[in-house]
Symmetry: D2
Subunit: 387 residues, 4 copies
């Protein structure tokens, strides 16, 4: 149990979004509970007062801390003695910016889902605000919480792959292969609606996860990209398939594919990195295994909490090897690392080095820049665009 | 989020065992938190008062409810207005019986780790006591909490495999391939010590899980068995490898293998069931997939929360297909089902039908009977013994 | 045994190239033997007379039919009563064109390795010559001989995937991740040498296989492509990594990746095709399995010679399901289909419909066109180029 | 191409059995062709003269060497100047003994399918005869021809696993899960008929392969066994499922399962061997991979012809890693090794050390002994029986 050495008080968590019928809000709540660093005490779970209250009731949140308006929530919580330490923003994308701004201005730390904003201007404005405010800002690129993703990052950083050459990342799904948005599926509705999702569909929803994962593990920066976005399902406005070629600073090359129309693929996020001295392969649907091949030697199957791992990976596990951890534990890892950073800020100390590498506002800006440039490239017919 | 429809108050949970350095106690605590039906409020985490208090402090348990003696705990909690609703027993095996008896006699529901007791007499006495007490008794054969294990059970019960013929179950590990018990590893120490573990080593620790899983999915009863137990590691008293042939009532036949000396196998619990109309295969290290082959047709890969599943499986999921759930979620599923049953008892109503099939005291007796007969068989040279 | 219905006489096979130290020549010979439609009776296995004779001696080829000069061979064999029926060309790429022309002009059927020629002009000239000559011309895009590749093609053609949307094809290897060409490895030497390999490295060696496979299975034509080729290994002139985006006529989109610098990947040719009604995935390293997912249903594992296959797949197997066939059997399948076509030509009849779809001179032109356009695109910085 | 160093004349091969509708005869013929050490020149492919002649005609065998009676064939071929060097016996089991005896007595080397005979007396008599005759006798336990099976054997022999502890071997199939023997399937008919198959069904057909594989790789001898055989399909006389516990000399223990009623399993021969220093796992349906785990280290995926292999494995490959070889190549490897041994006998020299370890008459006796003892054990109710 890596996360039970001490028991400082649980952090008080608020939430905006995540009412009944939502998906990611529930995930954040489980993630916040798993390692026991948070208690949910307030929320604006919906903009409709009735639904906001009903949702709060199902979540053990006191009625007086169930808000229908996030501005009112920020205001009230910011003034309470026992006000929330941090808010989790789990709304559709178009609200991220204003909600984040509102809480930061109320002096409250922020955990925000991705993509951070729907425009580059907003992203940069938010980065400025975070800097000025001195508050903590965590971005839930949750795949970076997987133990073996951190192992991969550590191995690349230590030079075990040599000079990086090729980076292949992909994230195929199949759930939008038909017009689910016409069938009353709330998740499909907002994700295919530019008013709520922003200008990017599949690109913003999962392409940005793929991009972040590649950056997180390799440490490489994209220099330029050529993107070919397409909406395959009739009548869909936003892209549901993304093809992209990447050139990284320093000379590596790569490809990125994300899709929501690939029958048989559920959440097939996969990263493959090849360097002059070795290769690494990791697949989110089988996350307890990392394939590592030193060039010229047999591939080795590194397992979560198994032999041969470094300290970053070993700090992000809960149970013995062979007992699978999954998506929720990876998400919980981010929450635990966020907790450490928030507590460090409270105590005016440095956060533990292993908890510091969680995605933040700079990653948020980077992700929105990526989306913006990919849209530019695709609109220009798939030409190369510098980042 | 299958478990957030309502919010009755959280059940008050106590724990016996699970102090610092323990493994399974931490798992129980996470499992109890994931679906948010419990709050840990009391504990006898260790018999040493100092360690008991220190452990409580790390677990947000109030000092006055940190006990060093489980009898004192049962007594005090049984009398408190806000006393615990249920105790989780996570000690080494030799204490299960007395702790369970003590809490049942104090009128407190019990969640107990397996094997239930170290003797058949104790197991039967406990079953009597549970019946007389009218209290809830849950046994954490946690693998039965996996969504696709429940799918398998439902398919067998619905006759989709036809008449069952062959049942192959195995649970290999490698962590005891060397004398870890001499290296200060607490988990290895008590598991290889007959005073704390009881007369069965590998057989009681994981063989009993394999046995329960086979019984749970197939619904078959073992008629007779022939067992060949062995301790391969020098100086080890208890078995570290178990070979067994099984004959089931009704004519099916099977094999069971469990081992703690199989290098490369971490927690390789695997069940394969073959009937006249089809076959099913499930592997705990890849638990989000169930391979189903209707005889004469291509195998189908059923995925957790994916297409083609029945209601039992769909009631035991948290997140979309392709986002893996693991060991902790399966364990949490048991805790959620226990909560439903405890609340139903409180409210004097029937528990939801999907929550009723969790392992209980009868499974505990069955498991100890299995261990007892396997030991008899092996001691007699591997002869057939009726159950 | 699908190929033993009749026993017309074995076809007399000659070979150009494939002397000691060569790789693909030996493969062609085994492939020609497996289904017993050919006997090797003549060869110009090397240009050095000594080595030509020595190679012939190891191959049961009579000394008088061991040639050092392929022109002499074409001449002599064209005039013998018992002259060869067909020649297999297994030289480095730069010789394909002239050898093929020479034998066609001598009235001899041709089996040629890929890429067909090193220039588009030669490819087109060869196509003209084949047409004029009336001779058989087979191109060994051998992966099209795999039973389940044919199954995939048949399923797509029958509309089982609906309208095609996304085509992902890749062929990573790792054997050229270091400067093997400096270490006396003949295979590496000629493949990295533009004089013998032509202007394309990895692109011509394996990228063209990936391209053909995608075309063969989907039946789609590429409308335009954007390619980013690179040589990662210091001092290497020809590309060792290929990234490409594809747009197909009719609207499908795709990506192609081939690499010879991906540590851990041996011959990872993989094709994934997604349409409006389903998806298919096939991997050359595990070729006895085809994953088929009807949209909204569980994935099905189709196995070679297993249940649920069509007639094209069932005509391309030798042994029962579960007994793996591999690369050599797929190659043999092409040879068997070539034999049927050659015999049909001899008999002035139509070849069996299932044997007619082997790659021929048109595929050769298409492959060289693909290479040419990819090189143009890459040299222009990765811009889109029409095919 | 490991097998083309020299070209001594091809050995003249005859065949008994293997006419139209047979399975294994065709496999032997392909196997004999792949490495080009044999030419098929004579045969008694069927006992019916018409079918014998028709079969010969499809196999390029001259009419005068197409026999209906194997005794006539042995007689005639034994006297021809150009008579066969070796006969391959591919009949149903009940004929193996007499055919083998007949050819040995005619001074002709023998390649025989397994199980060698249907009684232990015959097996021992055959062993005597082989010894007296001085002829070569090869037994086609073909799985021992796989490159990575030989790697496993070499690693065990070199002590890389330490002292062996646990051996798990299994061979499940599903093709006899229904009464195929009533549907005109010739393969099913004779295999379920004690008159032609002998007293063992699944046990003799595939259980004996599993047994041989375990013995071949580990070098261990079985000391005693307890077997539970059963016929699950109504009306079937011979066993279609085999369960067995094994005790090896020296202390290792194991299990063997073979089945023909396991839906979804095609030819799932799998061997797992665990010792004090490491573990090995190999699966026939994925034969180009061997999983090797040194105790306490990450598992390594050894691939056929890939890095890290020993000389025995490297002598049994044809093509580069990543290009799969399969069942036919493994079978061909035995034929190549047989050729080397036959030529060595002709030349009165020692066969190459790497070719000497093919199964022979002693393995045949051992296999029949195994069958005999397993039948005894099962008939006695599954008691332990010494071998």
């Amino acid at each position: 149990m890596s996360n039970e050495h001490n028991a400082p008080r649980r952090l008080r968590l608020g939430m905006v979004g995540g009412g009944q019928g939502a998906f990611i809000g529930g995930v954040h709540r489980i993630a916040a509970r798993i390692d026991d660093h948070f208690e949910l005490v307030a929320g604006a779970f919906a903009s409709d007062p009735e639904r906001a209250r009903a949702s709060a009731a199902t979540l053990h949140v006191a009625p007086e801390r169930a808000y229908a308006d996030y501005r009112a929530m920020a205001d009230a919580e910011g003034q309470r003695e026992d006000g929330i330490d941090v808010v989790a923003i789990v709304t559709p994308n178009h609200l991220h910016f204003d909600v984040a701004r509102t809480f930061l201005e109320a002096g409250i730390d922020v955990i925000c889902d991705k993509p951070m904003t729907t425009t580059l201007e907003d992203a940069r404005a938010l980065a400025d605000l975070v800097e000025r405010s001195g508050r903590f800002f965590g971005l839930t690129h949750n795949y970076s919480g997987y133990s073996l993703v951190r192992q991969a990052r550590e191995m690349v950083a230590a030079g075990e792959l040599g000079e990086l050459r090729v980076v292949q990342v992909e994230y195929p799904q199949d759930w939008l292969a038909t017009r689910l948005e016409d069938q009353g599926v709330k998740q499909a509705e907002w994700r295919t609606d530019p008013k709520r999702s922003g200008p990017a569909g599949c690109l913003g929803d999962i392409g940005t996860h793929a991009y972040h994962l590649a950056r997180f593990v390799t440490g490489l920066e994209v220099e330029s990209l050529a993107a070919d976005l397409h909406a395959f399902v009739d009548g869909r406005v936003l892209d549901d398939n993304v093809h992209m070629m990447l050139r990284f600073k320093g000379g590596a090359r790569g490809m990125l594919w994300s899709s929501q129309v690939a029958p048989g693929r559920e959440n097939g996020l996969r990263l493959r990195v090849y360097g002059s001295r070795g290769g690494l392969e990791w697949h989110q649907e089988d996350p307890n295994e990392l394939l590592y091949t030193p060039q010229g030697e047999p591939p080795r199957r590194l397992t979560r909490n198994g032999p041969g791992l470094g300290e970053a990976a070993m700090a992000a596990v809960r149970i013995p090897p062979g007992h699978p951890e999954g998506y929720l534990e990876a998400f919980a890892q981010l929450y635990s690392d966020f907790a450490e950073q928030i507590r460090a800020r409270h105590a005016n100390r440095e956060a533990h080095s292993l908890a510091r590498h969680t995605p933040g506002v700079a990653d948020g800006v980077d992700g929105v820049l990526f989306i913006t440039r990919a849209l530019e490239s695709s609109r220009a017919g798939g030409t190369w665009v510098n980042l």
